[in-house]
Amino acid sequence: MHRTIVNVILLVGLFFGLIVLASGMSEWRLPDNQQGYAPQQPIAYSHRLHAGELGIDCQFCHTAAEHGRHAGIPSTDVCMKCHKYVTSSFDVLQQEIKLADEKKRKPETVISTELQALYDTLGLDDPKQPIPDDAKSIPWVRVHNLPDYVYFDHRAHVAAGVTCQKCHGPVESMERVRQFESLSMGWCVNCHREATEDGINGHAVKASTDCATCHY
């Protein structure tokens, strides 16, 4: 009798243990593999909205991708190019204008929560003010991390005609950016092999698989 109870308890424990293990397995990755990493950002910037819906070119903001190793996170004044005026979503702004029209008053500035966060970081009371000298930068959380001994150069890939999506995935459909690919060495090397074999967009490229291409 006693033994049976113990056995039942053990069985139930095993069952739940397996469930936990199975759910863990679904997220199981090799160590250092950050695929799927999508950290919360200080400002919920939507790539889906900007790059997808509005169709802004990647390099409009990430200007350095063409010229430098790092694609670069746009400086805050790039945001302010538009968001000096665009303080909230179009619908809300339209509504406010309509409302103001109805009430026969000047439309008020409506600021969305996310943009308020942007202005707060910059220390702006009013988006139309110039950016103060002691403005802080936004502490974006880096999504795509490569180990320190890997030297990836955006320049080379942009010059070769590799699309951003090849490595970063469909960013234009991501609300919050996540690491789409594994970014493992094998993944890099395979792409280099394929590119050398098949070329990129029809033109031949030499994507070396020498160690020193990335490690030095």
Binding site: Q34, G72, S75
Partner: protein
């Protein structure tokens, strides 16, 4: 932002004065710059890490700097934040470096400098190829500047009586005292090292103007005062000639180490090199004779080297003068001169050579005896060298020290006549004899102000220390040679609350101008008018162009040079001395005490002795056996009859004169006890500096003031063995190409690692000097599976051009993040330098030949290291490079064992990277290797990759010379050529075609891609034979 199209560098100038903190600068290169004016961070300069805050700001602003945030609770790896600029500065691309032109201030030679600045950090110093003096070379000191910049021991604040103070208060107190002195008419003395900066000079002049008794005294720690004094006697003008070695066919140097430390080594090396490389078409080269007591770097490169004690220079010069006079048709009585210590036929041959090369020869001498220098002038005059190889029309300003003034100052100080003493750019008390007496005398001075960057010896005596900027932080200029003016611009905002001397002087004269304003004003007033240009352009254009170029050539300030005064020449007929003769010298890479705080330079092996981290007494092998000394025995060297002396370990130096004891100056510097724990700390580790000691000992106490100059050699010294030992840290144990006789296989006593031939043999047969070995040519054991169809990188090193100056070692260290390991690790033969400058002695008896051979990874096509690596961490690239993937290495050291050149370096420990400020000098393009990983020369693959990627971006093929390795770029002698061997038009392809090419150990078919060009000595074939009958183990100091 302007940029002129140049093949190799992109330059930009900073148009806005960075110093102007109060201005409206919206764009800042760094937060440190932005906050540069903040003076309230209240950090004690003695504090271990005073940069904690400013570094943080600095980093934050450095474009795309990523800082490690805290571990996220559920994250797998630490979260990294990426902080963008708030407003993107124009032209700044994260991760890309920009090159700025400026002037090197490592010494007074004033070489042109290109500084790579990345993300707001000056990272790498490069020579400026267009510079009229340095021609693209840069010495070890110049290469090591970043470490001086990112030095946490630099003063962060002005000090008042040793306490941290505010500029405002300091200025007030000093101004007050100065006005008292001014009204009292008391004496003001301003001591500087040689001032090459016209702006600083005029600032000092302006500052001193208001005092009735004010003098500016120039004191050089290693002075050439006698040369200037001699010219005052012979030419009526106190000038230092500019020696044009590129015009000299015969160079005779009496002790002048012009390739190593004397006046302007980079300029001289570059000029010397122009006539040292014979080709098949022109099998000619200059003839270089060195007469010296110790074995200097220059002597090691001479065609003929004669051992001569410094106190005999006068006698030999007199004989030489007499012989030349004879040839000129004058008869001069030689008999009362006494016997020359050099064989007469030797001297006659020398005189013949010189006479034949009249106007194309030069005699140099480093003696501090004015009479000797007058003789030198006489000889140069007689050889018609003035105006040709010895230029006093456009003289050098690189050494202006006036020892007479200094000695006078000491008297004044002792007499208590000085009311205010300003010391800039030199550690006065450290570099003069009788330090304690001088310190006491300085104690009598009411106002002592030091401008030192660090708390050096004289600063510790000063009431006020007003720290100057690091040269890379300040606006300045330099006129090393009359008419060649370099401009220095700041590459980053000052890291500490320091102020340039110019600005300090202006403040105390009641002027609020910034250094930039003063400099620009001075250029507008004094330099711009000297511009020899037909078309008149506005000053702004001239200024912008000068700033962009980094230097400008203008008309010399012509000083009337008088007629040659032949009657000044008085032959010196002393009979040869018999006592020991002390020779104080300065060491390549350190010179005087200025760079003693630079661990790269402290760990740089002396090019000749290969010793690091110490100074020592060099004695000849004969002397050593006479006294029963071996390397590391501590001896006491004492000036006879006084208690002035010091105890140092002994180093047996082949090729040294038996009477000469040589000790390096510039050691025992205050504050160098900081290096006690510079290396890895573990159970058996011995500290680099013993507690309570400094690196080496200060030998300045033995400098002898004599007849108005400071003599670095003296005859009245004695040497005694103490019985103690101090193990020197040398990077080379065995010093000869010859293997020890006891174990030498018959017929193979000498190894053909360095191949050499004589000029006459070379003229007859350009391939002469090729050893008779089994040479398998290019026969391959297995079919060629690896054709190199793209690039095939290769390098050649011309042993004839290479002087062994070791600039490449530091260039490589700076470029490739090579760690400093400390004295104990060097003792254990574990230095990490990727380039080893092998130095071999050869030859019979006491006169030795020296060969220098830079040895780094040879990138063998059949690399023995690659085969043995179990994990494929070192493999061959398609472009012929031997790659080392640090992250794959597990550290079996098998590859290092199997490397026939022993050029692989293992990370025995996690080398300290605790100094966060110093870490800013690390090159972000190169991985910092961790413990347990093998590393070695990568042929600067990061530069190759950058070159290829940039060429790809621009859609252009990679041009020859677009990618330069760090060592190649730095080499003052342009001995190193690097490039694509598959490009038939490339410099490397052409260099490899020559008859002098050989590969080290190529008979083993390792197929090294680094080739050497055989050394040719300007000798007759019979003079430089193989020295197989080398007696016993003469050259073997194991």
């Amino acid at each position: 932002m302007r940029s002129k199209h140049r093949p190799t560098v992109r330059r930009a100038t900073i148009e806005r004065p960075l110093m102007n903190n109060e201005s409206h600068n919206k764009y800042w290169k760094s937060l440190a710059e932005r906050d540069g004016s903040r003076s309230d961070n209240g950090v004690n300069p003695q504090d271990g890490s005073p940069f904690a805050i400013s570094r943080r700001r600095f980093l934050e602003a450095a474009g795309f700097t990523l800082s490690l945030a805290t571990m996220q609770g559920c994250g797998r790896t630490p979260t990294e934040t990426a902080l963008p600029f708030v407003q993107q500065p124009e032209g700044v691309i994260p991760g890309r470096s920009q090159t700025y032109a400026t002037t090197c201030a490592g010494c007074t030679a004033g070489c042109g400098l290109l500084v790579k600045v990345r993300d707001g950090r000056p990272l790498k110093m490069e020579g400026m190829p267009e510079h009229p003096l340095s021609h693209g070379g840069l010495c070890a000191i110049g290469q090591a500047l970043p470490l001086g910049l990112y030095d946490s021991h630099r003063l962060q604040h002005p000090l008042k009586d040793g306490e941290s103070a505010e500029w405002e208060g300091v200025d007030q107190l000093i101004s007050q005292q100065l006005s008292d002195i001014e009204s009292g008419g008391e004496a003001v003395r301003f001591v500087t090292s040689t001032v090459t900066s016209p702006t600083l000079q005029s600032s000092i002049d302006n500052f001193l103007e208001r005092f009735t008794d004010a003098r500016h005294i120039t004191f050089d720690a290693v002075s050439s005062s006698a040369i200037l004094d001699a010219h005052e006697q012979t030419h009526g003008s106190r000038v230092l000639p500019r020696y044009r070695l590129d015009a000299a066919q015969v160079i005779v140097s009496f002790g002048a180490d012009f390739l190593g430390t004397w006046i302007s080594p980079v300029e001289f090396t570059s000029a010397w090199r122009t006539r040292r490389v014979p080709t098949v078409e022109h099998p000619e080269m200059s003839y270089h004779v060195q007469l010296e007591g110790r074995l200097s770097l220059t002597g090691s490169n001479a065609d003929r080297r004669l051992r001569l004690a410094p106190d005999e220079y006068g006698l030999v010069l007199s004989h030489l003068y007499a012989k030349l006079a004879q040839r000129a048709g004058e008869s001069l009585d030689q008999d009362d001169l006494g016997t020359a210590p050099i064989a007469d036929d030797e001297l006659t041959a020398l005189a013949d050579r010189l006479w034949a090369a009249r106007g194309e020869s030069v005699v140099l001498c480093d003696s501090q005896d004015v009479a000797v220098q007058v003789l030198v002038n006489g000889i140069n005059h007689r050889l018609e060298n003035y105006g040709k190889t010895v230029d006093i029309e456009r003289p050098s300003r690189q050494r202006q020290g006036n020892d007479g003034d200094v000695l006078e100052l000491i008297d004044e100080l002792n007499a208590g006549k000085v009311a205010a003493l300003f010391v800039a750019g030199t550690d006065l008390t450290h570099n003069l004899p009788d330090r304690d007496g001088l310190a006491e005398a300085i104690g009598k001075v009411g106002l002592v102000v030091s401008f030192s960057e660090r708390l050096d010896d004289v600063s510790s005596l000063a009431g006020f220390v007003c720290p100057d900027h690091h040269p890379l932080e300040s606006w300045s200029d330099a006129e090393p040679v009359d008419g060649v003016i370099g401009l220095s611009q700041p590459l980053l905002a000052p890291l500490g609350d320091t102020r340039s001397v110019v600005e300090s002087l202006a403040r105390w004269s009641g002027n609020d101008d910034s250094a930039y304003d003063i400099l620009r004003a001075n250029w507008e007033q004094s330099i711009f008018p000297r511009l020899e240009s037909e078309e008149s352009s506005p000053f702004v254009r001239f200024w912008d162009q000068s700033l962009h170029d980094g230097y400008v050539e203008v008309a010399p300030t012509t000083e009337a040079v008088g007629e040659f005064q032949a009657d000044a020449i008085k032959p010196i007929g002393d009979s040869p001395a018999t006592d020991d003769c002390l020779s104080l010298y300065s060491k390549v890479g350190l010179t005087d005490s200025r760079h003693a705080h630079n661990p790269w330079l402290q760990e740089l092996p002396d090019p000749v002795t290969k010793v690091t981290w110490d100074n020592y007494v060099c004695v000849s092998p004969a002397k050593a056996s006479e006294l029963g000394l071996s390397d590391g025995d501590v001896v006491r060297v004492e000036s006879t009859g006084t208690d002035v002396g010091l105890e140092l370990p002994v180093l047996i130096q082949p090729g040294q004169h038996d009477r000469v004891l040589a000790i390096a100056l510039g050691y025992g510097v205050k504050g160098t006890d900081r290096f006690a724990d510079v290396g890895p700390q573990w159970l058996e580790a011995r500290p680099t500096v013993e507690p309570g000691q400094f690196v080496g000992k200060n030998a300045a106490g033995l400098i002898e003031p004599h007849e108005g100059t400071l003599h670095y050699s003296r005859g009245d010294v004695s040497i005694t063995k103490t019985g103690r030992r101090h193990e020197l840290a040398s990077t080379q144990e065995h010093h000869s190409l010859e293997v020890p006789a006891r174990v030498a296989p018959p017929g193979a006593e000498k190894r053909d690692v360095v191949q050499e031939t004589s000029l006459t043999a070379f003229a007859e047969d350009p391939t002469s000097g090729t050893p008779e070995v089994h040479h398998f040519g290019d026969v391959q054991l297995w079919p060629e599976d690896h054709p190199k169809t793209g690039h095939a990188w290769g390098m050649s090193i011309d042993l004839n051009a290479c002087t062994g100056c070791s600039a490449c070692v530091i260039a490589c260290q700076s470029e490739n993040n090579v760690p400093v390991v400390g004295k104990d690790e060097v003792r254990r033969q574990r230095e990490m330098h990727w380039i080893r400058l092998d130095r071999y002695y050869s030859g019979e008896g006491d006169d030795v030949d020296v060969s220098h051979q830079p040895m780094m990874c040879q990138h063998c096509d059949n690399a023995p290291c690659e085969t043995v690596c179990p994990v494929l961490a070192t493999v061959h690239s398609e472009e012929g490079l031997n790659e080392q993937a640090y992250n794959r290495c597990v550290g079996t050291r098998y590859c290092a064992n199997n490397c026939p050149y022993k050029v692989r370096r293992f990370n025995w420990f996690e080398y300290p990277h605790g100094d966060e400020l110093q870490n800013l000098a690390l090159n972000p393009d190169v991985t910092v290797r961790s413990r347990g990983v093998m590393e070695k020369c990568s042929m600067c693959v990061q530069r190759i990759e950058e070159g290829k990627i940039e060429a790809g971006r621009l859609g252009e093929p990679l041009a020859d010379g677009q990618v330069q390795t760090a060592c190649q770029q730095s080499c003052p002698a342009q001995a190193i050529v690097f490039g694509d061997m598959n490009d038939p038009e490339s410099a490397i392809a052409k260099a490899l075609e020559g008859p002098r090419r050989y590969g080290v150990l190529e008979e083993f078919n390792f197929r090294p891609t680094v080739s050497y060009l055989r050394m040719v000595r300007n000798r007759d074939a019979d003079e430089s034979g193989d020295h197989h009958d080398h007696d016993a183990e003469g050259g073997d100091h194991v």
